[in-house]
Structures are given as structure tokens and as C-alpha cells.
């Protein structure tokens, strides 16, 4: 135990402000909350001469530069079931390509679990702790990243991480107690590698040779706010997707996804089966067009379902008009239609065909009974070779259904299910969208 473990309050001998000292026995320094003077534990918390970049203690500057954060030093909350206290605040800045990013880090202290960090960045809360277990590779620095031809990756505690971004950041502001001595202008390089839920950071300082490893994860902001006695309703809105933000889906949406995909499969299978239930041929006739005409007599027993009239010709590299008329038992016409049947084939860098020798007409009769279908061949034309219509086959089936309602239902269900899967893919894409890696 050092003095810091026992000392509970102190007076800044630079500005005379009294303040609490928190943070247990490994506190290396306390930076005055009011004037920024560095009070080192090794010097019995007396104000030392300003370190590089710090400048003289300055109350105005300290108040003006205090970084944006909803948290205050001294607040206590629970993270992962462990009670922690905020003992220090650091404002960090990263500048690159004319842009500047700022975020706030809070040093946390737990009497049982030691020190960790809680960051407030992009209106989100990220929890970071140092790891003593070395990842593979042991070190990834800015030189390694610059030389790498493919996206660097690492393994740590059985998890894989891929390079996300990197850069130098510097301390702009510090106040409170810390287990190291923060100084304005201190720079460190962070190489961030992103995993499924966590980020692995290789941190290198510009004045020290060693590398530190940190593991970060996003915390549920509302839960942390409540735990630290803050009102979640006062939190500023989140924008975009943070790389550490896990994909969250309610159990109801997961049920919706599973059911939508399950019922899409059921509807597709039913689309094959339903139109064929009770399907039966009711008439068929072969016919040569040189005769007067062709007709078939159909006895339709179910007027609620469709009747299919199929026309098959021997058309070859030609087209032919077929006129169809259906009459009821009294000889009254029910409907009449005309179809052009055409079929072509040839060879052009491989065999090809176009059109079909078969066409179908689907209709519903007004009532069960006997109906007669007439077919007449009209004009015809030849594309290649010679063709004379010789043979035409007319057949009818009743009890015909249509797969389309079930196909449409299956498509809508699948759209719902895969849309929800796509939501996750979109989230992952957005998580990685801020990566500065380029394969070029």
C-alpha cells in the first residue's frame, strides 16, 4: 500500500483547492480538478513544476477545456456486475487529413478488479481494459501496417481480429486520479483490430518501447446511465453505427424471421402440390389441319376450378395462328381466343431454340356440363426451310389450379425473412464502413 491508498482528500498546493482522492494504492498522480496541476504520488501529492505541454496551473483553462461527457469524477456505477468509480477524466484528440476527432476517457477504479477505462465517443459508451495475455502477433505498429500487403489480423484468447483503423492521438486534457501520469501532448499510436464483439488495440507510446494490449467493447448506454444515476432520456442521439455496436434484435423479430422463412418453404412446396390436386384429363384428340376442323368434347364436373385447353403443334422454324372457340351444350359460344404458336431453332455458337410448340388456354366454365372446343388453323409463316402445318393435338384437363398465389405468398415471406437477415449483413457492413484499410 502506498500513501494514496490511505489518503482520502488533499489540498492542491498550486491553487489551494481541496478535493477527494480516489483510486486505491496504484495511483501515480492526481491532476487538480480546478487548475490542472500535477500532484504526483511519489512526491506526496505536492505540486511539481509543470511537465512538458502542461503549462502552469490555470483555473480558466481547466474549466474551458473540460471535455464533453455526461459523467463526473466520483460517480459510482456497475459494469459487468462490478462496482466501479470514475476517478479521472482525459480528453483525447486525433487529427488526420485535416479532420479532428475528439473523445473522452474516464479512468475507472474497482477495489476488487483494479483499473479500467470508460470512453464516451460518438455518444456511445465503450469499456476498455488492458490485457496481460499477448495476442498473436505480439506487436502491430504503424510500420507493420504500412508494410502489410493484406489487411492485418490477430488472434487473442481464441478470437480473431481484423485490422480496422489506426492513428496517433494525444492527450488534450486531464483531471483527477490516474494509475499513470498523464500530460498534455502525450502521444500514443493505436492500431485497432475489430472482432465480432470486441476491439483489440495495440498501443505504442512515442517515448516508450513497449506495446500495450487493450480490449474494448460497447456497453448498453441506457443501462450504464441508470447504473451511474443518470437519466437515459438526457443522452444525446446516436448517429450511424459504431464499429463496436453489436447487432441487436428482439426475440420477436428473430421469431418473425424464422417463421417467415419456414412458411416461405411451406408455401413453395404447396405451390407445386395445390394446382395438381384432383387434376384430371377430360378429353384429348389428334388432328390434321387439312381436315375441316378439330373439336373435342369435354365433360366439366367442377366449375369452380380452372380448365386447361392445351394445343400442341408440329410447327418448325415457323409460326401458325390457331383460333379456339368453346361452346356450351346448347351450342352457345362461351369465349373465343386466338393464339400464335411459334417455334424456332438453329445453331449459332451452340444450339438454340426459341418459342414453343405447345400453348395453353386456362378458363372457367359458367357451370358444370358438357362443352365443346373447336380449333382452326389460320395463317402461318415460315422463317427458314419449308413448313406446312400437319398435325395439331388438342387436350383438356379440369381441376387445374394456379401456383401464383402461393408463389407470391412465398416470395413475400422470403422477402420478410431474408430482409431481416439482410439487416444483420447491413449492420456488419456499416460497422466496417469506417475502416481506413484499403487493398489498393
Amino acid at each position: 500500500m502506498t500513501a494514496a491508498a490511505e489518503l482520502r482528500s488533499l489540498t492542491c498546493d498550486a491553487c489551494g483547492a481541496g478535493q477527494s482522492l480516489r483510486g486505491g494504492g496504484r495511483i501515480a498522480a492526481h491532476l487538480c480538478l480546478y487548475c490542472g496541476a500535477t500532484l504526483e504520488a511519489a512526491e506526496a501529492f505536492r505540486a511539481m513544476r509543470p511537465r512538458k505541454g502542461d503549462g502552469p496551473p490555470d483555473r480558466e483553462r481547466q474549466a474551458r477545456d473540460w471535455p464533453k461527457t455526461p459523467f463526473e469524477i466520483g460517480q459510482t456505477g456497475e459494469i459487468g456486475g462490478v462496482e466501479v468509480t470514475i476517478i479521472g477524466v482525459i480528453g483525447r484528440k486525433m487529427a488526420y487529413d485535416g479532420k479532428v476527432w475528439r473523445w473522452t476517457e474516464h479512468q475507472l477504479y474497482s477495489p476488487t478488479h483494479g483499473y479500467a477505462w470508460l470512453s464516451w465517443e460518438e455518444n456511445r459508451i465503450v469499456f476498455t481494459r488492458k490485457s496481460r495475455v499477448p495476442p498473436k502477433p505480439f506487436r502491430i505498429g504503424y510500420i507493420d501496417i504500412g508494410k502489410s500487403e493484406s489487411r492485418p489480423s490477430a488472434f487473442h484468447l481464441g478470437r480473431r481480429y481484423s485490422y480496422y483503423d489506426s492513428g496517433w492521438s494525444e492527450i488534450e486534457f486531464a483531471a483527477g486520479s490516474f494509475n499513470f501520469i498523464p500530460t498534455r501532448g502525450d502521444r500514443s499510436h493505436a492500431a485497432n483490430l475489430l472482432g465480432a464483439r470486441r476491439m483489440l488495440t495495440y498501443r505504442i507510446y512515442d517515448d516508450r518501447p513497449e506495446v500495450e494490449w487493450e480490449l474494448s467493447e460497447a456497453l448498453d448506454r441506457d443501462a450504464v446511465f441508470k447504473s451511474f444515476g443518470l437519466d437515459p432520456a438526457t443522452a444525446p442521439p446516436k448517429r450511424g453505427v459504431h464499429p463496436l455496436e453489436p447487432f441487436e434484435r428482439s426475440p420477436a423479430l428473430a421469431d418473425l424471421r424464422n417463421m417467415a422463412i419456414g412458411f416461405a418453404i411451406v408455401a413453395l412446396v404447396a405451390a407445386v402440390i395445390a394446382p395438381r390436386i384432383d387434376l384430371q384429363r377430360i378429353a384429348a384428340a389428334d388432328w390434321r389441319p387439312n381436315a375441316e376442323g378439330a373439336s373435342i368434347t369435354m365433360t366439366v364436373t367442377d366449375a369452380d376450378r380452372l380448365v386447361e385447353l392445351e394445343i400442341e403443334t408440329d410447327v418448325s422454324n415457323a409460326w401458325v395462328e390457331v383460333e379456339l372457340e368453346v361452346e356450351d351444350q346448347a351450342g352457345e359460344p362461351v369465349f373465343a381466343v386466338e393464339r400464335v404458336i411459334e417455334y424456332y431453332y438453329g445453331y449459332d455458337d451452340g444450339n438454340w431454340t426459341e418459342g414453343s410448340r405447345v400453348d395453353s388456354v386456362y378458363f372457367r366454365v359458367p357451370e358444370p356440363g358438357v362443352y365443346t372446343a373447336f380449333a382452326t388453323v389460320g395463317e402461318s409463316g415460315v422463317w427458314r426451310g419449308s413448313f406446312t402445318p400437319e398435325r395439331l393435338r388438342l387436350s383438356a384437363r379440369e381441376g387445374v389450379g394456379s401456383p401464383w398465389p402461393l408463389v407470391i405468398a412465398a416470395a413475400l415471406f422470403a422477402l420478410t425473412g431474408f430482409g431481416l437477415i439482410g439487416q444483420r449483413i447491413l449492420h456488419v457492413t456499416r460497422r466496417w464502413s469506417g475502416s481506413d484499410w484499403s487493398d489498393d
Binding site: 420477436a252 421469431d255 418473425l256 417463421m259 417467415a260 419456414g262 412458411f263 411451406v266 408455401a267 404447396a270 405451390a271 395445390a274 394446382p275 390436386i277 369452380d304 376450378r305 380452372l306 395462328e321 383460333e323 372457340e325 352457345e332 359460344p333 362461351v334 369465349f335 373465343a336 381466343v337 386466338e338 395453353s360 388456354v361 386456362y362 378458363f363 372457367r364 382452326t376 389460320g378 387445374v400 389450379g401 394456379s402 401456383p403 401464383w404 398465389p405 402461393l406 407470391i408 405468398a409 415471406f413
Partner: protein, 52 residues
């Protein structure tokens, strides 16, 4: 549990409705036949415009 049952019932009802429509061939009628029936005309180029 209740939302899951409601969701299942909705999917089952929609599938049953689609099955019914498929069985009876809703939307399956040929367009030209439907037009011919709607207009009461059996007249095509080869039929001299006879009216039912």
C-alpha cells in the same frame, strides 16, 4: 409466448388463403379468355365478331 402464437396464426392464415386461391386457380385464367368473357364478345379476327 402470445406474440409468437399470433405471428404463427397470421402466417398460417396467409398460407391457407394462398393455398385456397391456388387450388381454385385465382389469377390463373388466361388474360385473353377473361377479356373475351368480360366483353361478351367471341369475335376475333377469324370469327367475324360474333357476340355471345
Amino acid at each position: 409466448m402470445a406474440p409468437r402464437l399470433v405471428m404463427f396464426a397470421c402466417f398460417a392464415a396467409a398460407t391457407a388463403l394462398a393455398f385456397y386461391m391456388s387450388y381454385y386457380g385465382v389469377f390463373g385464367e388466361s388474360g385473353d379468355v377473361a377479356r373475351s368473357l368480360r366483353e361478351g364478345s367471341v369475335g376475333g379476327p377469324g370469327f367475324g365478331g360474333r357476340v355471345k
